[in-house]
Symmetry: C2
Subunit: 188 residues, 2 copies
């Protein structure tokens, strides 16, 4: 279970409310860990009960008040313990791979449209990551573009590079899949 730890990391990077965390899980952190607001509120409540995080009620005008969470000493210790604990590389789950093998018992050509849709989603994700990279890391207006090396920044960048590499690899593979499906469609 790493949702706890993903939330702790996000709150260390910047304290925020459950709602704000949910938004981050749709963007940056969400590139490599997903969570819905329901999950987040549940985990926040549990971590607050365990003394891992502190809450501060923040009144706002023109908006509902919010609870701003920040990481407490116990939470930092729990994160540190987890960081030093070995974890096994997870196996992937690809619906699409199941569908491709299943297509052998159905109509392979019918899968082409589905694969094209996948291709488009991954193309959009890649464009989004690349835009984020320019904005936050490599572009001229990027924060601390020239300055002392910042560990947090470097680490965020290397994670983003992983996302970019993943999307590029996926796009190339989807092209391979499409070529294979088209070949099978015309072979007979």
């Amino acid at each position: 279970m790493a949702l706890d730890h993903a939330i702790l990391v996000s709150l260390l990077e910047r304290p925020g409310s459950g709602y704000e965390l949910a938004r981050r899980f749709e963007r940056s952190i969400g590139y490599f860990w997903t969570a819905t607001h329901q999950q987040i509120y549940r985990v926040l409540k549990r971590m607050e009960g365990d003394g891992w995080i502190d809450v501060r009620e923040v009144p706002q005008q023109g908006r509902p008040d919010k609870k701003e969470y920040s990481v407490a000493a116990a939470g930092r210790a729990a994160l540190s313990a987890w960081l030093h604990e070995p974890i096994e590389p997870e196996s992937v789950r690809h619906d699409l791979a199941v569908k491709i093998r299943g297509a052998a018992f159905d109509d392979p050509a019918a899968l082409i449209r589905e694969v094209e849709r996948y291709r488009q989603v991954h193309g959009e994700r890649l464009a989004h990551y690349l835009a984020g990279e320019v904005r936050d890391f490599t572009g001229p207006g990027a924060p601390h573009a020239s300055g002392p090396p910042d560990a947090g920044r470097e680490l965020q960048h290397v994670v983003l590079r992983g996302g970019i590499a993943y999307e590029r690899m996926t796009l190339a593979w989807l092209d391979d899949v499409l070529a294979t499906l088209r070949r099978l469609g015309t072979a007979r």
Copy 2:
């Protein structure tokens, strides 16, 4: 939920027992979908109840008897329906990415050993996939190495190529991560 469908595909490729399916999920099918025997037995029972699969008791000598499952007409129809249903590309979950961003608040150098361990596991997976590719698809003794194009075979191969591409990409990224961590370790 695609475990049902992954099992149906596997049983279409070759009927087998729950135990055999569990072994397949450690290998071939398991490259892109994981499941433990407990999950598999539960789903088999449910699919049998729904008439998606048929069972045949197979007595064996020197071994416990087994139940051999095969896909029934209703199961084939359910698979076909799922194949024609659009699915969203799933988001990834990478513990390691959480750890890398978390390392900014701990000791980045302490992560090096963990990343090296990951690197080794992925290197072994790649070697395993490549050996399987030679054995089953590209090697001289591969079945149907020369012959008419076989859709099932081609589709299994393109899925395997996806696994190979994934492992290669991951290894390259882990090298990038290691270089970044080492740079941060020596920078101060």
